[in-house]
Every structure is written in C-alpha cells, then in structure tokens.
C-alpha cells in the first residue's frame, strides 16, 4: 500500500521534472525563402506561374479587365461582381482592383528572388542549362507582370497624365529600396526596363535550348518570349521593334500552325496546349479557381455576371459561316430570368464539377500573326505582306478574306479572334479609339469613353497608396 503510494507520488514528481530538463523550445531558424538546389529553383519559378493562375490575375481578373471595360461584354449585376469595372467607375478601395495589383506584384517576387540568387552556387549536381532556362523564364515573367501592371495602372495613354508608369521592383525585400516611400517610375523608364528584361530573358533562353524545359508550353519558352515581346511592342506601337525580329517572328509563325476551323472548338476544349499555343498557364480541376473562375463569371450557375451585348454579333460583324460565331462558341442560353442573352460558350468551356479547369491560353500564334501584320502595315507600309498574314486567320475560320489589310480591319479581326480573351480594351486604348457605347439600354454601362480619358487607367489601390507614401494617384481618382 505504502509502496504503491510512493510510486504514484514519484511518478507525478518525475513527470514534472522530466519536462523541466528537456524542453527548452527550440526550432531551427532556416530562411525558407532561399534557393539552395535546382529543385528549389524550379519550385520558385513555378510559384510565379501559380500566382498568375489565380483568379485575381490571369485566372480571371486580368481577362475581365480587358473585356468588361470595352464593347464586348458588360456586368449584369447578378452578384454585383465587376459592376464598377463595367461602369468604369472604380474606387481606389475596389477589391478586385486591389487584388489584381497585389497578385501582379506578387508574381514578380519569386522571379526577383531567382534573378538575385547566385545560380552558379547551387548544391548538388544538375544540368546548368536547366538553371539558365529557369533564369530566362524569371526575366520574362518579371517583365510580363510589370507589363500588366503598367497597362492597367500606368498613365501612358492618358491626356491628363504626367507620364507616370509603375514602381518596377527588381529585388525581393530590397534593402536599398524604402518600400514605404518609393515613387512610381515613368512610362519611359518602365518601357526600358521591360525591354531590358525581355532581352536578358531571351539571351538566357537562347543559350539553354537543350534544357528539358525548352519545349514546355506550360512554362515560358524562347518562343513565348518572342510572342511576349511582340505583345509589348504592339502595345507601345513600337512597330520597328517587331520588324527588327522579323526572322524570329516568321520562323515562329511557321512553327506553330494556325488552328484550322475544323479544330477550333476542340482546341478550346482540350486540357493541354494545342498546336497553336505558344504558352498556356496550367489549370486543372484540382487547382481550379472554381466559383471564381473565368468560366463561372461568363456562364456559371452561381455568378454569370458577364454577358455579351445583345447586338454583339452584328457589331463585330461576323460572317454567318465563321466558326467563331458558331453556337459552340457564342450562344444565347436561357440563364435565369434573361432568355436569349448572348454568352461566351466556347472559350474556357469546362463546367459543373470541372469548372475552371481549362488552361489559360496566354500566347497563341494567331496573336503573333496579327501583331506582325500590324507591324508590317504600320511600320513599313508593307500592305501586301500584311494582308497575307492577316488573311491567315479568316482563312482558317470559315470567314471571308480581306482584300487589303488596314489598321481597322486588323483591329476587327483581332476583336473576332480574341473575343472574351481580354484583348479588346487594350487594343482600343493603344490605337486611340473611342470606346463606344454599343447598347445604352444595358445596365452598368460605361457609356462613351474618349481617348485619353482618365478612366483608361485604373486607380492605384488604397493599400498601396496608404502604405507607400511615395506613390502618386492617377488623375481623376
């Protein structure tokens, strides 16, 4: 009896003292935000693609930003999503604008870590070319993020602007940069930085063509870098820039076949990059944006906020035989209370339990072709060559050909080809066109927006403005 008691007593005391001796809480202080191996490097760069794929950026909002502010679609207000974008009456506190700004910036974080890491000192054995390729991807993605930041928030096409671009950050956690008081760069500076990053990227990608990643269409490749360069140049109407790489562009166009009309609908349905794709952001049903996907905002049961203008087909001017105007691509479906309203059916088509699992097609050869046609026309007045390139598209769409390329019909073809993909707003802005009000009876309409209007730039988000005192707001906000 007594011994049992003492045993119990001993256990309790022992218990207490056991812990007092052994458990000074210790956790290793490793900085996980450092790159040590080639695997780290790959994972960091893929982190940037992953952020891009979220709905706050390319998974939805970036595409919406290029559509809802133009003359293709409007927000019907069903769930109040994108109403203020549709009206072009955006507050600095607008959530989607803030998250777009945030995600674009965050996309550049990992590329910045990669670019500022000494890749010659990675641990273990690995293919040097792979490291070089990833570094090339990092430069291109940093440029891509800053380009999107600039074209959404910069003052390049404003008449009241001061030529302000964006803060082009080149190092993650940069000790030399007071992030709480860092002014915006000028558009010109940004442009130079963009071109320099793209140039660096191209150099690294070029010198790593034997890397296993060189043909991976779900990551940046050399071809994607050229496609991106043509997009940037077209945006700034730097036609000479495109013409200066005409060899590369032409060989790229030869390498990627334009999707034939017979495959066009299927091209959007397949869950991996098709022949015409140069770069796609990977999504599938385990990583989909689900309810927040671009699919759901176009036609999902729960949101379906973005619908096409009633007279869109006439306004775009599709031929009846055009595959892009077929029922598989655009149709009137009976959604809720609004029978007979046009909706995007063909692009980002997955629905129900697979909703949002379509890749985002970032660069298609068709874009490079139309960019090139425009550069030929506007840059060196080579109408016949421009017409040839322009007609590569309608000839593959069951549509009538153009007798002669003009800026207007190139823009018209771009509108048909890239409908619902987020191009239209930027095409109108960069070419100085008025954004028309094609149906004033629709709700949440922005009305007529003239070239140079303050509203062509989104407001700097409130948090950026509050936390970074060096920032200046765009005019009109």
């Amino acid at each position: 009896m007594k011994s049992t008691m003492i045993k119990y007593f001993g256990i309790l005391i022992g218990f207490g003292f056991l812990f007092s001796c052994t458990t000074d809480p210790k956790i290793e202080d490793a900085d996980p935000a450092e790159i040590h191996t080639i695997d780290n490097l790959r994972q960091f760069q893929d982190g940037a693609y992953q952020i891009m794929s979220r709905y706050q950026y390319w998974g939805r909002n970036q595409i919406v930003a290029g559509e809802v502010r133009a003359d293709n679609v409007y927000a019907n207000g069903r769930t109040q999503r994108f109403v203020s974008w549709s009206k072009m009456d955006i507050n600095p506190t607008n959530g989607d604008t803030g998250s777009l700004f945030n995600y674009i910036n965050a996309t550049a974080a990992n590329p910045n870590i990669i670019i500022n890491t000494d890749l010659s000192a990675l641990e273990g054995s690995y293919e040097k070319e792979d490291a070089t390729h990833i570094l090339g991807e990092a430069y291109i993605i940093r440029a891509l993020a800053n380009f999107d930041l600039l074209r959404n928030f910069g003052q390049q096409y404003l008449s009241n602007g001061e030529g302000l671009g964006v803060l082009y950050v080149t190092k993650f956690k940069d000790e030399d940069l007071d992030i709480n008081n860092a002014p915006r760069g000028s558009v010109e500076e940004n442009k130079a930085q963009l071109y320099s990053d793209i140039e660096d990227g191209i150099q690294h990608l070029k010198s790593s063509q034997d890397s296993q990643y060189a043909t991976d269409k779900e990551r940046i490749t050399l071809d994607a870098a050229y496609a991106f360069l043509s997009r940037v140049a077209i945006y700034f109407k730097d036609y000479d820039k495109i013409l200066s790489i005409s060899n590369e562009v032409e060989s790229l166009i030869n390498k990627y076949p334009v999707t034939p009309s017979t495959d066009y609908v299927e091209y959007w349905k397949i869950q991996s990059p098709g022949p015409a794709s140069i770069f796609e952001i990977h999504l599938d049903n385990t990583v989909s944006n689900e309810d927040n996907s671009i699919n759901n905002i176009y036609r999902g049961q729960s949101y379906a906020d973005l619908q096409a203008y009633d007279n869109l087909l006439q306004d775009v001017g599709f031929d009846t035989s055009d595959i892009r105007a077929s029922k598989a691509m655009i149709d009137t479906i009976n959604m809720f209370e609004e029978p007979g309203r046009w909706r995007n059916m063909g692009k980002y088509p997955s629905m129900l339990s697979d909703i949002g699992s379509d890749n985002i097609k970032m660069f298609r050869v068709e874009e490079v072709i139309l960019n090139y046609a425009e550069a030929l026309l506007e840059g060196e007045n080579n109408t016949s060559k421009a017409t040839t390139y322009l007609n590569m598209i309608p000839s593959n769409r069951n549509a009538s050909l153009y007798s002669q390329a003009t800026l207007d019909n190139i823009l018209k073809e771009r509108r048909k080809e890239f409908l619902f993909e987020g191009f239209r707003f930027y095409d109108l802005v960069r070419t100085g066109k008025t954004i028309r009000d094609i149906d004033s009876s629709t709700p949440n309409n922005h009305g007529v927006v003239s070239p140079g209007d303050d509203r062509l730039a989104m407001p700097y988000p409130q948090q950026e403005f509050d936390a970074n005192r060096g920032t200046k707001q765009n005019p009109g906000y």
Partner: protein
C-alpha cells in the same frame, strides 16, 4: 425510501458512536444557517487533528472531544467558524459567505486566500449565478456579473461563443481573449472554427463542453497582482474555474430540469411585402425613365405596370403564379425554439474520501431553421486522504456536443440569415404541391437559393468531444510546508462536416460537395509547487509559493473535400467522385514558467503581495522574459482608531503594480514561411510570410481600490481605478503591394496604448427581516482608451476605421452623411468639416473621411440587480447596459436596395423602412434618397460608407427576471424525503432598449464582431424558461 434513508442515518450515527466510544466527552448540536435552516453535510473537525464528522440531514452532529479541543465548522458557501469544545451541546449558526469580504477567494494557481489577506482584484461568480440563465455555455452567463468585463454574444446559434474582454481591449493584433484555467490547470481555448471553411459556418465555443452545473465558482482575475503570476498569458485577465467537489456526509442528490423557449431578442429589420416591392419597382422605373420607358407608349405612372411585366421576368412570373407573397423572415425563423436542460448530481463522503458525480443533458433548438444543439456530459471528482498528510484529488469531465449549425455571416446565398433579407417576397417558397420549391427557384429569385430548402438539405455540423482529466497530489510535509503536484490533460476532438447537397444551392454546380475536417486538440500541463506558510513572531504571517509549470499544446487538423456525388442520399466523402482535396496542418506550442509568490501580512493589517514569473514561449524568436508585480493592502478596520467604530466592518485600501504580457499570436510566425501550392502537378513555392522577430506585447498595470462593508455587512462595495499601459504592441503592418507579398503584411512590435477605467460596486440589503429581504446591487465600469504612440507607417487605415496615434483604437473614420437633398432626393455628404469646409455634395469622390472620436467599444457599462425574498417566494431581476460607442451597419446592401442597379429591386427585396422613408417630392426631408435606376449617385449610396450607417450602440437589456418559490414546507414533498424543492420561472433578455432608433440590428452581436459591424449571423436570443431544482 424515507425510512431507508433514516435507517442509513441511524446506522451511520451508530458507526460514529461506536468508533469513538470510550474516548473522552461527547459534544453534539445542530448547525443552521442564518435563517435557522438546518445545514446537512457540514464538516465538523477537531482543530489540528484529522478527526471529524459531518452533520446529518437535520443538521445535527455529535463528536467525541477532549477538553481544550477546538471545533472547526466548514461548509461550502459559508464562513468557517472555530468554536471551543465546551459543554455537551453547541449549536452553531454559520454565516453566508457571500455577504462578507472575509470569504475565501481563489487566486492564481488555485491558491486560496481570504479577501483580507490578498491585495488582488478578483471578482467571484457563484454557481448559483452561473446557472440562472440557461445558455449553452457558462461564458455567456458571465455577462454583467463581473465589473469591468464585457461579454457579448456573437451569434444566437446555440453553442456559438461570445466575445469576452476584461478591462477593455488591450491589443490590436494579438488575442484579447482571457486565459482559462480549470482547477489550476490552463486549458485549451482554441477556436473550434479552425478548418471549418474560414468561419463561414456557425462557430462553436470550446467552453461549451464544460457543464455549467459542474462549476462551483468562477474567479475573474483583473489586476496586476492577480494576473502577473500568469506572465505572458495574463494581459487579458484570467478566468479561473473551480469545479464542484464532493461534500462529506450521506449521499446528497440534486436534480435540476429546465425547459425554455427561445426567440430573437429584438425584432430586427422588417422587409417589404410583395405589394410594397411592386410599388418600389414602379416608382424606381418611373423616376428613372418617366414616359421614355415605354418608348412613348405610357404617359403616366400607373401605366408602367403593364410595361414592366413585359420587361421583368420576375414580375411576369409573379403574376403568372397568382401573386404569391413569401415572408422570408417568418419562413427562416423558428418561433419558441425549445430548450431542455437536465442535470443530476450526487455527492457523498466520509472523513477519508468524498466524491461528486454528475450527468447532464442539454438540447437546444436554434431560432433559425435547421439549427440545433445537443450536449451530454458526465463528471466525477474524487478526493481521498491517502494518509494523514497525503491527499489525492482526481477529476474527470467528459462531454460531447453536436451542433447543427448553418452558414453564417457571409453573403453566401445559402445563409438563411442573409436570404431572409435578400430573397424576393415574390419568389414562392413552396410549389403548387406544397413542397419546398427548388427546381426553378433560382429563376424566380435572381439566382439566389431557397434558403429553407438548402438549410434542410445541407449539413453544417460540429461534433465535439472533450475530456479533461486532472490529478492532484498534495503532501503536507509538515504544518508549514506543502508540496503539490498536478497533471492536467485536456483532449478535444472536433469533427466538422459541411455538405452541400446536389439538388439545390451551392452544391448544384459541382453536383454535391462535402468537406470534412477533424480537429484534434490536446494539451497537457504539469505543475509542481511548494507552499511554505510560516510566522515570524506573533504577527508577521508569510505564505511563500514556488512553482514550476510546463504546458504543451498540440493541434492537428485533417481536412478532406470532394464533389460530384452519385445522388442526394450519399453525403460522406467516400461518395465523392471528383475534385478531391486533402490537407493536414499540425502545430505545437510549449510554454514554461517559474513562478515565485509571496503573500505577507502584518497582523492582518498590512498586506504585501509579491509575484515573479519567468516565462518561456515557443511562439517567439526570443523565447524568455520575466514578469512581476507588487501589491499593497491596508485593512483599516483592524486599526485601533476604527476597531470600535461599529458601523464599519471592513475598510480596505489596495494598491497594485505589475508587468504582464500578451503572447496571443499565431504559432511559428517568427519564421519566414513558404507555402507550397501546385503548378502543373508539381510543387510551386510562394512566399507567404516575411518572418518576424516580433515578441510579446508588454502591459504595465497600476491598480488602486478601496472596499468597504458597513452597518453589519448591510452595505458593501468597492471603488477602484486602473491604468494599463500596453507597449511593444504587435501590429501587422500593411506593406505596399509593391513589396510583392501576397499577404501584404508583416508583424512588428510598435506603439503604445493606454487603457484606463473606474470600477464601482455597491450592494445593500435594503430590508433584512426574517421573512422579508430586499437586496439591491449594482456595478458600473468605465473604459477609456488611447493609442499614445504609433509610428505613421504602422498606422492602420481601413475603409471605415483607423488605428492612429492620439486616437482611440479602431476609431471610426468615414465621410459624414449630410442627409438627403430635399430638392432632388440625392444623397449628400459633408465635404470636409474637420477642415472647416461645411459644404455638402452628392459626389462621393469629393468627400473626405473624418475622424469620429468613437469606436466600437463601450465607454461605460453596468448592471443593476435586485432580489426580493418573501418567506418562500423570491423575485429577482438584472438589467445590463452599456454605451458611448458606435456600431457600423455593414449589412446595408441587403436592406437598402434602391432598385438602382439593374435587377436589384427587381430580383431581390428592400426594407420596409426604405419604402416608407424615401424621398418622394421636392421639399421632403427624407431618410433615404429617391428611387432611381439610372443615377449612379443614388445607386452607389447604398454601399458608400458614411455616418449614415454608423449608429449609437447605447442600449440596455433586461438580462434576467425571475420569480421562484420554495416548496419545502409542503408535506407531500417533505414526505418524499426531499430537502429542498424550488420552482422558478425565468426570463432572459426579455426587453431591450436601443437608444438609436435607426439601429434595427442587435447591438450585442455587432459589439461582439471584431470590426464592430452588424452581421448576418443568427441574432442573439431571448428566452423564457421554467426551472425545477430538487435536492434530496
């Protein structure tokens, strides 16, 4: 039955008689309370021996004593009494504990001191008070009972936790929740909402797993002297829970049953009916387009109806279905939701051992369709003397709760508390056969769900099991020295399931969605301490304690999700066929502390309390720090100059100073963290945290108080004041987005804040006669808060509030509403009154936000209670009030739709207030702008934040009102062997007064919201209950 009991008593008495036969003399008597009611189970002990006995059912005792012995009479709830054992009869009257500042209070680490030995500020709530109102957890019963402590219900869903603040809010970023300690052991107060989909489902309070009826008392520690022993966990106050222990003597049973009926505490906003909605639609259309609407076909407003029908599917559909009217508020509400609460306990003991055992059952229906709550509890506390100087105390408490909750707060379409405001009265809830409509429901309700259907179809439940086991061994080494060792185990398993059925609602697109999470919380705590009690000379009394405590917390959450279910009857994860997702998270935390406590008094006249705590916590990069306090007390009544003043029973001054800390932040934040997501089926790293060398916040506290008892304890009270200076405050400093971090914030120690307050307590027996007693008591506290230092880069400027130097914490900051322009019905705001610009504008972008000098926290609160006892009848009531704060109506979108965005009033609904008080014609002084489809200035005004939606939070509530009767004297009951038979009818929250007539929402839940926003959660409830309490 009765005979058997009597037989037992006889045998028991004989046992004692024979046991001590042949010893010296025998003394016997009867022990009663002040009202002459015999007290059974009173411990009668011979001082300095282990010899003792208990009184029987009739309060009688009998014990063998030697001459010169002193008898000690002790019983819970009464003051101990020491009586010399003279003569053969000694009748004792025990005085009620609650009427005296001499009562024993439980302080840090379970140390028991009498009030006149301690300098700590400790408020005690008795078991009687805790069990008055029948909430699903004891924390809600604390509302209004502790001076300086604010308790507000976050939701009326049974099981939902309240928000508790002791002496205001002391931190912006770290936790403001107090530390919970049960029987000396810190327990887990983790949020059980972890892993249940970002808190969009009903939350569940882990304290709900403690049966209120098993609690003996709760001590709330408030000042530095009281909380400093808990060091870095003490800054928000400490709630010490003492559970019921066994009582000596024969078996004593308690049976307690309550049935209650619950409803929303206040009516809440009223929505338009189907005709009012039509009227609003017509008005809005006419105002917007006039005759243009029909392309010239219409010339007057009454013609608009036919045109509208062609344009609005909703209207046409309503017409086609025979103009139904669905009152969604009524459909969602469960009237007179029933609550049953059943408890049974037994206690028994002899001079060696005693136990307390209980079982409990509670079933509470929610006031919203489909919500319910069920709880089963069992407990055992066993105490035994292993030898003369070794005592073992073992307790086990196990409980299971099943909470059938709902979607709450967010604007998710299946949240019934959202749907009841948003859904169109034109959308019929049932089809022609009388079944809940779902097939075409979205079509007739603007895409929204039939929330009654989804609430019944979907599952949102938490099933929680918690077991708490404590072992305590106490060894009296000698008269002065006691060693104590405690091991406490606390295990909680929470299963959460969310199932959205495939038939209708959120589960429709993915054809059914299920998410299940298992959260396992385990913590253990071990304490070893040494008490040394000694005297120097006659008058210097010391109690010194050295203590070591180690606590470890382990949290594991496992979550799985899947979609695409074969049919609506299969809801478990194994039925999912796509979109599989699984994750698990594990975190642990260790805390250690070495504590030294010294309590000294000089002849019970001058008191000194010193505490020191050296503490380590794994949450920070710098893990160790020390905390301390000093308290002084002066019992003036012991001084010669007051000793003879009969009217003064007690007069004590207290002064305390100390430093505590707040470590209430997430685990492992000090590390820079990567999150690994998936890109293209491979890992993709994303920087998710900057890492930080932030450490705990420190709080300096100064406390001064005077307490008194006057006129034979008829008037008691205290007055006190405190200052808390919080420094090294933790801030999640916003980073610009250009910092390239997805979550653009980093934790830093910056800034200082000052909280001050005055606390008053007063209680008096206005009438004290044998048959009639009238007691009145009140408490009142003030709170004042100022951020005294904060670098501008750490300022928090949100859309409606700020944290800035020189201002209150979370001070409201928004444009000022200037009313509706009487000329044209447009909204008006002041441009910038703070800078002298008194002009108004309808252009919101021209308006400057203003600092408003108020925040969500009340500047004062109080409670007034009274109780009248007349013979066997009692009546009592408690009124709680608070005010001086402002609350923001964040739910404007659901109420004030103006038909301005297309489809809004067309598809949804608006409040009756909007219909009645909108601008109609020039000259109207209206509450709301005009109806207009087209004008953005009107359209956006609904969501443009301004003081229009900021309301005075001052309110008062009749917390408790009751009438009860003691039926002991009825012979039928007496014959059943029942000692005590009480019946009471009680009302909780029956009446509420809200100062701001424009505030239609319950202020309590808005105050419980961390943002001070009104929420779309279940409103707090009122109830009427009938309680039966039987002791036998």
């Amino acid at each position: 039955m009765e005979k058997r009991i009597h037989l037992c008593i006889l045998l028991f008495a004989l046992l004692f008689t024979f046991q001590f036969f042949g010893q010296t003399q025998k003394i016997s008597g009867i022990v009663t309370d002040e009202n002459n009611v015999p007290l059974p189970g009173v411990n009668v002990q011979i001082k300095n021996t282990s010899k003792g006995t208990f009184t029987d059912f009739n309060g009688e005792y009998s014990i063998e004593v030697s001459s010169g012995d002193i008898l000690i009479f002790t019983s819970i709830g009464f003051q101990a009494q020491e009586v010399p054992a003279d003569g053969s009869t000694s009748n004792i009257v025990l005085r009620d504990d609650a009427s005296s500042l001499d009562e024993v209070i439980v302080t840090a680490f379970g140390r028991k001191l009498t009030r006149n030995e301690s300098t700590a500020s400790v408020s005690t709530v008795s078991s009687e008070d805790l069990t008055k109102e029948h909430f699903t957890d004891f924390t809600q019963s604390l509302q209004g009972r502790v001076t300086g402590m604010t308790v507000n219900a976050t939701s009326g869903t049974p099981g939902a936790p309240p928000t508790i603040n002791i002496r205001g809010i002391n931190s912006v970023t770290a936790s403001n929740a107090p530390l919970f300690v049960i029987d000396g052991v810190p327990v887990n107060d983790s949020n059980l909402s972890e892993g249940n989909q970002s808190g969009t489902n009903s939350s569940m309070n882990i304290m709900s797993l403690i049966n209120t009826n098993d609690i003996e008392s709760i001590s709330v520690l408030k000042d530095a002297s009281a909380v400093a022993p808990y060091g870095a966990d003490g800054a928000n106050g400490v709630i010490l829970i003492t559970t019921k222990s066994g009582v000596g003597g024969d078996a004593r049973y308690n049976f307690n049953y309550t049935i209650g009926f619950r409803n929303d505490a206040i009516k809440g906003p009223k929505m338009a009916n189907s005709l009012q909605k039509l009227e609003a639609l017509e008005e809005a259309t006419w105002n917007s387009f006039g005759p243009d609407y029909g392309n010239g076909e219409i010339t007057s407003r009454d013609q608009i109806y036919n045109k509208l029908k062609q344009q609005s599917e909703f209207l046409q559909g309503w017409e086609d279905r025979g103009r139904p009217y669905t009152n969604w508020l009524d459909e969602v509400r469960i009237k007179n939701a029933v609550m049953h609460d059943l408890n049974f306990s037994v206690t028994q003991g002899n001079e060696k051992s005693n136990f307390y055992a209980s079982v409990g059952y509670n079933h509470t229906d929610g006031t919203v369709v489909s919500a319910s709550y069920k709880k089963l509890t069992g407990s055992l506390k066993f105490n035994t003397n292993l030898s003369d100087n070794l005592n073992l105390d073992i307790s086990v408490n196990v409980a299971n709760v099943r909470q059938n909750g709902l979607l709450e707060n967010s604007g998710w379409f299946s949240n019934p508390n959202y749907g009841k405001y948003m859904l169109s009265p034109w959308a019929n809830i049932r089809d022609d056969e009388g079944n809940l409509r779902y097939i075409d429901f979205r079509k007739i309700a603007g895409g929204r769900h039939n929330v009654v259907f989804t609430a019944l179809q979907n599952e949102h439940f938490s099933d929680v099991t918690r077991g708490i086991q404590n072992s305590k061994l106490e060894y009296n080494i000698n008269d002065n020295l006691t060693f104590r060792s405690i091991l406490g185990l606390d295990f909680t398993l929470r299963r959460f399931k969310n199932h959205n059925g495939p038939v209708h609602g959120d589960g429709e697109d993915p054809h059914g969605l299920t998410g299940e999470s298992n959260l396992t919380l385990f913590n253990y705590s071990t304490q070893n301490s040494l008490d040394y009690k000694f005297k120097l000379g006659e008058k210097h009394n010391f109690l010194a304690t050295g203590l070591y405590e180690y606590t470890k917390y382990k949290n594991l959450n496992l979550y799985g999700e899947g979609t695409n279910f074969p049919n609506e009857n299969i809801t478990n994860l194994s039925g999912a066929t796509s979109s599989f997702f699984a994750e698990s998270t594990y975190s642990d935390q260790m805390k250690m502390r070495w504590v030294g406590l010294l309590n000294y008094n000089y002849d019970k006249k001058y008191l000194v309390d010193l505490t020191y705590s050296y503490q380590g916590d794994s949450r920070f990069s710098e893990k160790w720090d020390s905390f301390y306090s000093a308290g002084l007390g002066w019992n003036l009544q012991e001084e010669n100059f007051l000793k003879n003043v009969e009217s003064i029973n007690t007069l004590r001054l207290r002064l305390g100073y100390g430093i505590t800390g707040n470590a209430g932040i997430g685990r492992n934040l000090y590390q820079a963290l990567m999150t690994y997501n998936i890109y293209n089926n491979g890992p993709a790293g994303v920087v998710s945290g900057y890492g930080t060398n932030a450490k705990w916040e420190k709080s300096q506290r100064l406390d001064i108080a005077a307490s008194f008892e006057l006129f034979d304890y008829r008037l008691t009270g205290s007055i006190g004041a405190y200052i808390n200076l919080t420094s090294d405050m933790l801030f999640n400093v916003p980073l610009p987005y250009s910092a390239e971090l997805l979550n653009s914030r980093v934790l830093q120690n910056l800034g200082e804040m000052r909280n001050t307050g005055i606390e008053l307590e007063l209680a008096g027996d206005l009438i004290r006669t044998p048959d009639f007693n009238w007691n009145l008591s009140a408490n009142f506290s003030t709170f004042s808060n100022k951020v005294t230092s904060l670098p501008s880069n750490a300022e928090i400027i949100e859309t409606t509030r700020t944290v800035q130097e020189g201002r209150k914490i979370w001070e409201w900051y928004m444009p000022e509403w200037a009313g509706v322009d009487p000329d044209n019905g447009l909204p008006l705001w002041y441009v910038d009154r703070a800078n002298g610009d008194n002009s108004t504008t309808s252009d919101y972008s021209k308006v400057k936000r203003q600092h408003l000098g108020k925040n969500l926290f009340p500047t004062y609160q109080g409670s007034i209670s009274t109780r009248i006892d007349y013979k066997k009848l009692f009546v009592e009531g408690t009124l709680n009030f608070s005010g001086g704060n402002r609350l923001y109506e964040n739910t404007t979108m659901v109420l004030y739709a103006r038909g301005t965005d297309a489809g809004r009033i067309n598809s949804f609904n608006t409040s009756e207030d909007v219909i009645k008080n909108s601008w109609r014609e020039p000259g109207d002084i209206a509450k709301y702008p005009r109806f207009d489809w087209n004008d953005n200035r009107v359209a956006n005004a609904v969501s443009q934040r301004s003081t229009k939606y900021l309301h005075d939070g001052t309110y008062a509530r009749l917390r408790d009102i009751a009438i009860g009767y003691n039926l002991n004297e009825i012979s039928f009951i007496k014959n059943l062997g029942i000692r005590d038979f009480n019946l009471a009818v009680r009302g909780t929250n029956l009446w509420t007064w809200i100062k701001d007539k424009d505030l239609d929402w319950d202020p309590e839940s808005a105050m419980a919201d961390p943002d001070g926003f009104t929420t779309l959660k279940t409103p707090p409830v009122k109830s009427i209950s009938i309680n039966l309490n039987i002791n036998f």
